[in-house]
Symmetry: C2
Subunit: 418 residues, 2 copies
């Protein structure tokens, strides 16, 4: 075993394939004789010195992570304070890394995690304990800069396009006497990447989805209702895909306004029921709506093989970069060509990714703002290709990893939660 350990942590919303990244990290590190610790519940586990010794997990358990959704070591939504205003947390993080001889830190998350990894990468020398920090990309929102796409996105994109195609066949077959308008709400607070992926379900004008609502465009009720009405008259039914993040002209989230009216709490979301109410009241049509919520980002059974391969590739590359002595970088996906789809992994400075957000280019939205362009299809199409098989047990349901999660003995005084 090499001196020093590699610490891996998951951050923010989990995906259908983030554990495939974790598996690749562990397998690659093992092949280099490096021991991997995993933080329980992301960065909180580092603050709490709550570490898991992955060397206690069997080869088959680690292999099973490749087809297990969710975050096997626990993730968290926790914003570290800025070291300028209060560096206690960063001091603690370094103490824990030093105490356990962590030489390499891999932080698997979005732009916020990239920022954390970047800050830590700069503290090493100051604290007399050099660590190499690598950001590992993960987000269903597909909103990281530099990288062509984000592991996790391709699978939710495939789930969304697939669901639109299947459910629309249902709606189409009954629209004569039943539901005329079907509204599917998908994730995406600020960027409409997931909503856009629904467009892959069909290409010609009469194929579903007929209307896509993006957070990049202000919601125009009048234009929306006109489009829905015209579609029902022409096609017989209308499938609408709405991003949870659509906003009115004032920039207010519809889900917020709706939440206050109906549920009292914005966090409960629910753009679909509001749109359903609008269509039902203004057009007098029968409407059904669906909100898959977590189902969409945990649907490993419908994952994209391309997405899975990329999730594994960034995990493998992250370890190789770390062991090669790189610091403050992220393995990103670079697209070499659209057709046939070719991509490669390359290191990019965290400084170019931290706290930045990639929105959809205007060229991806049709002029009326209700659909995606050929350029968007060229970009999105390769990301949902291929089926990533999930082994099923004799109960007929997908098999998932069962980990021991053996805790590493603590060496420091307990962290005071603040």
């Amino acid at each position: 075993m090499t001196q020093g350990k590699l610490l891996y942590a998951q951050s923010g919303g989990v995906t259908a394939v983030i554990n495939a990244t974790a598996a690749a990290v562990i397998e690659t590190a093992r092949s280099h004789g490096v021991k991997v610790y995993a933080a329980r519940n992301g960065i909180l586990g580092v603050l709490r010195e709550d570490l898991i010794d992955t060397s206690r997990e069997s080869t088959s358990a680690v292999a099973a992570l490749h087809h297990t959704p969710g975050g096997a070591f626990g993730s968290c939504r926790y914003k570290l304070k800025s070291p300028q205003t209060d560096d206690a947390e960063y001091v603690r993080l370094m103490e824990v890394m030093k105490a356990h001889d962590i030489r390499w830190f891999l932080y698997n998350g979005g732009n916020d995690s990239a920022d954390t990894a970047l800050k830590l990468s700069r503290l090493g020398r100051a604290y007399g304990h050099e660590i190499h920090c690598i950001g590992v990309p993960k987000t269903v929102d597909n909103d990281l800069t530099v990288t062509d796409c984000c592991p996790g996105f391709g699978s939710v994109a495939r789930y969304t396009a697939l669901s639109v195609r299947e459910a629309s066949l249902d709606v189409a077959s009954m629209s004569e006497t039943s539901t005329k308008v079907f509204i599917l709400e998908v994730m995406g607070r600020n960027a409409g990447w997931i909503a856009a992926s629904a467009g892959l379900a069909g290409e010609d004008a009469d194929a579903p989805p007929h209307v896509i609502l993006f957070p990049e465009r202000h919601f125009d009720a009048k234009a929306f209702l006109a489009k829905v009405k015209a579609t029902v008259q022409r096609v017989g039914y209308c499938t609408v895909v709405a991003s949870e993040g659509i906003r009115d002209a004032d920039g207010t989230l519809l889900s917020d306004t709706g939440s206050r009216d109906a549920f009292g709490h914005a966090q409960l979301g629910g753009v679909a029921p509001l749109l359903a109410q609008l269509v039902n009241e203004k057009l007098g049509m029968k409407v059904h709506w669906a909100v898959p919520d977590y189902l969409q980002r945990s649907a490993r059974h419908a994952a994209s093989a391309t997405d899975l391969m990329q999730a594994q590739a960034v995990g493998k590359a992250a370890v190789e970069y770390a062991l090669a002595g790189m610091n403050a970088v992220m393995p990103v996906i670079l697209r070499e060509r659209d057709t046939p789809y070719r991509w490669k992994i390359a290191p990019a400075p965290l400084a170019r990714i931290a706290n930045r957000e990639k929105k959809m280019p205007k060229s991806f939205l049709t002029r009326d703002g209700f659909g995606i362009t050929a350029a968007a299809r060229r970009y999105l199409a390769p990301l949902i290709r291929g089926e990533a098989a999930t082994p099923c047990g004799k109960d007929g349901l997908p098999l998932h990893a069962t980990l021991k999660r053996v805790a590493v003995a603590k060496k420091l005084v307990p962290w005071k939660e603040r």
Copy 2:
């Protein structure tokens, strides 16, 4: 070609496998040299003399129906008037059958369709045109009597159990700092079969789903909140599966009350957001909710192989019964044993099925009413087994049948919609 034609119609809510039944009907009839007409949009198509000549569909197009969700020939929600009060519709149905020499009528639906098929079966002689009427079982609600289960149910059951298992991994991995309670709303207005199937996702007390809400039990907010709170304290999070049909002590649908408050229309449903609001307000926990709606019953990509086989078997048997001269019967599924699961198809009189509804036996619900018993597991487990593969195109999405739907030339005066 044999004299006379076989007419096939789909009725009510469609499923992930009703087209597999249609395919089996067409393939079996073809093997007997019998031409199959399909009514467009169910019984409405018969009234309107809007018939599709399936002999114009290629062998491969018909084969593709085996993996195409929705209702390929169109279904409808249309309640025929009682022949006692107004027999005009039944008279018209017989005229259309007579005009097109329909000797066999296969009606693919639930207990209401069974009633229609039964009534028609009795009219033949009176109208001087003998037809053999066969009811073909189909319903995701699994509420038909006599048959052990209903084609369509096993697949939505598998989708539900699978979704609970996947989404719960997501919730579990973030519950420390994010969502503590996840609520999944499933179909089932009067019978909790689909909600019960969620129980197959996990068996021990700490495995999700932790709480199932059935329409068979009055919703007790106090007991529900206590169970959720205790589960979060013990497990760290709580997955709730709620049937859309849960009612309060007065028998009022929660979704109705909720719909009036929030959306104004009962049909828009939404038990999950109401429960989410309740949990959030009373327990102060972060809650997420999902309503897959049509996604659950059109998820052919996640269909159960057992369900698919049974959907095909009832289609094949229905044709054989009809051609053998049987009348007013339905091919039902009889369970011979639980383990190993053995079943067979046998004819049952429509009179024993028409307008009746099968609820879950009390013995299937745990004493506290929040879970399923071992008896329920024995019944449900075999129905979700096996993966029913769906071929995917190069776009990475499931391939579905494309039909010509060539109309049969009309011979009668147009039907006046009334």
